[in-house]
């Protein structure tokens, strides 16, 4: 560079962040991995058809002597059934995992959306209006954080589960209930973060200026504060998804979430919890799928945060 003040090319913060993100190899790899996982789950029927697998029962693959456990080593792994088959039913594990990922991801994304919407609404109001509004909303969020959340979720699901049809693939209503319960209990974390950001933003000059010019609260919130919250919200949303995946897995693992023959990662792990000492692979593959997905979301979230706010690293 020559000259004293090389003219800086005007770059918006979002573009700078995007550039930093693209240079972050770990984040890019995570994003690619997640894209593959999402594509596989979205295209589960196609993928299954291509691989020649399905979720039908294959009782012929189960050993009669061995009370319904798959024939052959490693949970009945074979060319036809690359990850083996489910004990007792003989359904193809890979097919179950692919279809299960649809349920798990749908619940996680839906619940995250709900948590973020609630959290942003609560955090925005609490941080912007302060005073008694803040007291009420913050206390509510603090109280929710002190709740035995898992116990409540189980109780709610048991009670609401009484009205949702079981049997068949009637998990549709259950998925909705899971999204509501998991999403609801996840919002205080988002709310607290948004509140803190809003309080910091409120003091900034451009908000003061807007207020001095007589802008309405709605206008200040909508045009001055919310746009500045996009990047922290994006980061917190990305980091909330894995926690919601784990929440669904935990509830289904305990048997109050998705019920067989419906399937999700947690449901598979839950079924496996009774038989894993005999067929460890039946537990291993769903478990590893959860770990890889959650890890990828965490890494991507970290990458996003570093890209938006490079000084934290």
């Amino acid at each position: 560079m020559t000259g004293t003040q090389a003219p800086q090319v005007a770059r918006s913060p979002a573009r700078l962040a995007w550039r930093r993100l693209r240079r972050d190899r770990v984040a890019v790899a995570s994003a690619v991995a997640l894209a593959v996982i999402v594509a596989l789950s979205a295209g589960a029927p196609v993928v299954c058809a291509l691989l020649g697998i399905d979720t039908e029962r294959h009782i012929e693959l189960l050993s009669i002597d061995n009370v319904g456990f798959p024939e052959g080593a490693f949970g009945g792994m074979s060319a036809d059934h690359p990850l083996g088959v489910e004990p007792k039913t003989g359904r193809d594990l890979l097919a179950l995992l692919l279809y299960g990922s649809r349920t798990s991801l749908l619940i996680a994304l839906g619940a995250t959306a709900l948590s973020v919407v609630l959290g942003v609404a609560f955090g925005l109001c609490a941080g912007y209006f302060r005073g008694w509004v803040d007291s009420v909303l913050s206390r509510t969020m603090d109280a929710l954080l002190a709740f035995p959340v898992l116990l409540f979720s189980i109780a709610l699901l048991v009670v609401l589960g009484g009205v949702t049809p079981t049997g068949g693939n009637g998990n549709g209503l259950r998925i909705a209930v899971l999204i509501l319960v998991i999403g609801f209990f996840g919002f205080p974390y988002v709310g607290r973060l948004v509140r803190g950001q809003v309080i910091a933003l409120r003091q900034r000059e451009f908000v003061e200026a807007a207020r001095a010019l007589g802008a309405s609260d709605r206008r200040i919130l909508g045009t001055e504060i919310l746009p500045n919250l996009v990047s922290p919200i994006l980061v917190v949303a990305t980091l909330t998804i894995p926690t919601r995946i784990l929440a669904e897995a935990a509830l289904s693992f305990l048997g109050v979430g998705i019920q067989p023959p419906g399937t999700s990662w947690g449901q598979l792990l839950g079924s496996a919890s009774h038989v894993f000492t005999v067929t460890p692979t039946y537990m291993l593959f769903p478990g590893l799928t959860v770990v890889v997905t959650v890890l990828a979301f965490n890494l991507l979230g970290d990458g996003l945060r570093d890209a938006f706010d490079p000084k934290t690293n």
Binding site: M1, T2, G3, T4, Q5, A6
Partner: protein, 344 residues
């Protein structure tokens, strides 16, 4: 002729061609670029410059505080004959706090918020002196008393946030002087304080110098502070020294256009209020790309006086007059005399 105020003695601190560079993603930042000066025992030397001129970095380099950063420090920092740039860390650690001490700009962030001020002062004493906790405590109380903390016995157990800004800075000074160092580096010690408190702190520094005989390197952006306190001055711009002089000389006969600018932008009560302050226009150069000529040239109002655009092409050398003065400027001595704005 100005009378030499300090007899020529072996300097306590001798900085020669000091360079501090920070490698960054955008390139090499030259924070200090070939700086040389001396500090005699018991002398108060002011280092003046705008923010980003490298004055604070110089202080930290002397104490070796840049060793844990990515900074590259080269040149020579001789303290009592030892070169601090190449000294092993263990030796530096023995010197830090004992012979070389530092007072920072913001005493609130420079004091540990979770420890009492007394324990922080006595800790500084105990690192370098094998004494009992009680003896260290007594010493700390004595120091707190000396720097003007009222009721030092009671305040020993108070936390930094329970003190006012001025009192906190007194605590910092007590902590720095508890081992009676031979050199105290004070990095903008009054910038974060109220004006009335500033004067008290500066007076305290002067008194303590007389009492303990410590030399002081006073880093500041405020020429007023320099005028009140210092024996001699180093004016820095863009990591380099542009002028060096005894304090009276500097104010009476400033030589470098940058110093003229600094003096012109300094408010004075004895000047008519209708005379506008003259701030220096423009910005200091980016330390990533210091101009090849005189670093001050883009902001200097006198570069047309120098023929053949030498100010743009050729970096002026720091010229010593052999009487403790030095200046870095292409203007001739005669030009500097006639062009200098009329002294108020």
């Amino acid at each position: 002729m100005p009378v030499e105020t300090t007899p020529p003695a072996d300097p306590l601190l001798s900085v020669r061609d000091l360079r501090v560079q920070f490698p960054t993603d955008d390139g090499l930042v030259r924070a200090v670029d070939g700086l040389s000066f001396d500090v005699a025992p018991g002398e108060i030397v002011g280092v003046v410059g705008e923010s980003g001129s490298g004055k604070s970095v110089t202080g930290q380099a002397i104490l070796g505080l840049l060793r844990r950063t990515r900074a590259r420090v080269t040149g020579e920092i001789r303290f009592d004959g030892r070169d601090l740039v190449t000294a092993p860390e263990a030796e530096l650690r023995r010197l830090r706090g004992a012979e070389l001490a530092m007072v920072f700009q913001d005493p609130l962030s420079a004091l540990h918020p979770y420890y009492t001020v007394g324990s922080q002062v006595s800790e500084a004493y105990r690192v370098h002196n094998r004494v009992s906790k009680r003896a260290a405590r007594e010493r700390a109380v004595q120091m707190l008393d000396r720097v003007g903390i009222p009721e030092p016995h009671r305040r020993y157990g108070a936390y930094p946030h329970e003190f006012s800004g001025g009192m906190r800075q007194r605590v910092m000074i007590a902590m720095a002087l508890v081992c009676t160092p031979r050199l105290l580096i004070a990095d903008e010690p009054t910038t974060a304080l109220d004006v009335t408190v500033q004067a008290q702190i500066l007076e305290l520094l002067g008194d303590l110098r007389d009492e303990f005989g410590s030399a002081v390197l006073l880093v500041t952006h405020d020429l007023g502070v320099v005028a009140e306190t210092c024996d001699s001055v180093v004016v820095m711009y863009a990591g380099q020294c542009v002028e060096q002089a005894g304090v009276e000389d500097l104010f009476a006969r400033p030589q470098a256009p940058y110093t003229w600018g600094l003096l012109g932008s300094m408010p004075r009560v004895d000047r008519d209020r209708r005379d506008r302050l003259a701030p220096i226009g423009g910005q200091p150069p980016s330390l990533l790309a210091i101009p090849p000529g005189c670093a001050f040239e883009p902001r200097c109002g006198y570069h047309e006086e120098v023929p053949e655009s030498r100010c743009v092409d050729e970096r002026p050398a720091l010229v010593h007059d052999g009487q403790g003065r030095a200046v870095r400027c292409h203007l001739t001595a005669g030009q500097r005399l006639t062009l200098r704005p009329v002294a108020p």
